[in-house]
Subunit: 343 residues, 2 copies
Amino acid sequence: MRNPGTATSNVTIFEVAAQAGVSYGTVSRVLNNDPHVKTETRERVNRVIQDLGYVVNRQARSLAGGKTHIIGMLVPDLGTGYIGEIIQGIDSELQLSGYDLMLYTTHRTPVLEADYVANLAQGMVDGLILVLPRNPRDYIDILNSRHFPFVLIDHQGWGNECPAVSATNWQGAFNATEYLIQLGHKRIGIITGWMDLDSAIDRLEGYKAALWTHHIPFSEELVRESTFQQLDGYKSAMELLTLPNPPTAIFASNDVMAFGAMDAVRETGQRIPEDISVIGFDDIPQAGAIHPALTTVRQPLRNMGSVAAQMLLDLLKHPDIPSKRIELPTGLVIRDSCQPPRS
Amino acid sequence: MRNPGTATSNVTIFEVAAQAGVSYGTVSRVLNNDPHVKTETRERVNRVIQDLGYVVNRQARSLAGGKTHIIGMLVPDLGTGYIGEIIQGIDSELQLSGYDLMLYTTHRTPVLEADYVANLAQGMVDGLILVLPRNPRDYIDILNSRHFPFVLIDHQGWGNECPAVSATNWQGAFNATEYLIQLGHKRIGIITGWMDLDSAIDRLEGYKAALWTHHIPFSEELVRESTFQQLDGYKSAMELLTLPNPPTAIFASNDVMAFGAMDAVRETGQRIPEDISVIGFDDIPQAGAIHPALTTVRQPLRNMGSVAAQMLLDLLKHPDIPSKRIELPTGLVIRDSCQPPRS
DNA sequence: TTGAAAGCGCTAACAA
DNA sequence: TTGTTAGCGCTTTCAA
């Protein structure tokens, strides 16, 4: 039997119980908002909790009840502001619900990814948020078979049956391209992302659709497959700009590539937007901070994070609700990097 | 008494013990590298662990032994790549030692900061890494009095008695300024960071010292107090560039302000580095990706992270080693944004 | 070198 | 409405 008298350095439920003159089971009830507690008792216990500065021991709670109140998050890296924004969204949502965030960086190593998932699902966290997973196929089945709650962000469309949140990539790209067309551009270059990511494919398709809609012939030479990275954006833009018949506008599939493209334009001695228009995708914080401010497609990154967190918390409460995938709307953010083409 | 026969969904120490034909105490010994286990037994147990895919339950281990094998990390935000780099350093170090990372974003709210620290120190994590804390005074005393292990990164010099890692800000700024002087610049503008941060002050002092050393008069009008943020870097640079007698080179106290400064230079129709040289501080990943590539002072961010992690792990093993503060060397990274002034 | 057993702090089921 | 108690999975004595 346990000995409630032996106090360790930290305040436990026992000290609280003793002080309040109730059993420790009752304290536990108060802690967990069990309705079967007399209001008076509840108040008394709460007061003692305050006085003693008691904080529950999560390890113990989790061991006993199975809940850690920790959410695990797997991200590929933290290089760009992109992931940071998503984390902030998740983070503020979890904060409201009293959950904590455990961060795992996979450094784009698929092995690590699978490892972490296996270990985490083993009890360390209550649920998982997977950001931009590269090979989810490997472990999504495991997760599903264990009924372990998880949500994907900006996934690649693997297995349509799992909960996921992403943005309307196709629509955003369509709007961006259409905007350029409406400004009068006819030769519009596009720099794509990694073509094994759905988001990159969708953006390219949106671009094509907009051209099609406005009866502008699609030209293969205006498409540069790239990598979502700034330096490659720069290189791809250089290729476009040195074409015999270069584009008058460039649509970069994300903002950092747009930054690279802007560098390239300047390097060729041209100006933005007077000579060349540049439009991006994402609207990371930097986009509004550079000069000229970047016109771009806003992806509600923060919002995607909080929606994902909400979905996961829902899933924790009601494990059996059917999994849904949410697409958040993108929106055009018009700043200073685009204008009608010269003459 | 417990019933080893009742297997739950996850493999426990009991299944392993049963399979290996030993008591569960022995399995625990194997797990903890207790030397008092016959090699043969150890091997057998390890084999079973492999076979069954057993993973220890950290909640239980921590409850029993008092260690969670989780390190808590408090960061102000995740906006720039700055913090991301530090995290990667910490992260990879912890990964090696089998520790996990719990991330808390304070969003620059001092109250949150103190709250988190109090709660975390209460048993959720074994140690704490505090990045760029704004008001550590509030809780460092608590931490110290509880003998709770923690390390500061890029602190503000509060209480010289606590473990901390930072970079040689003064020296880095000195070198950057000296480099510009050696290129032939005589009018060098500086854009500072938040002047309530030691790092910002040290950089300004380094700049002054370099001028002094080379007998260049210090001029107050060439100093712009700023905020470490890109947009403010832009504004400050604009002020410098529109001076009656503008500088020929600008030293920005961090890279993102240097980016802002570069925008400002272009905005005034001048070129980098032909008309104006720009030098930064930090060497975040973006610095090498933009055009022209930014010459800057490299702060070993990743390394600062891993050194901090190492210090903390040391502290966990030997709680009584005297706390030390480590300053990591900065280094000049010469790229393309500086050259001698026009005639 | 091993086994047995006492908790770590808590939740939840069962009694009262 | 409250008290009692059996574990959750593990570490760590204490015996053998």
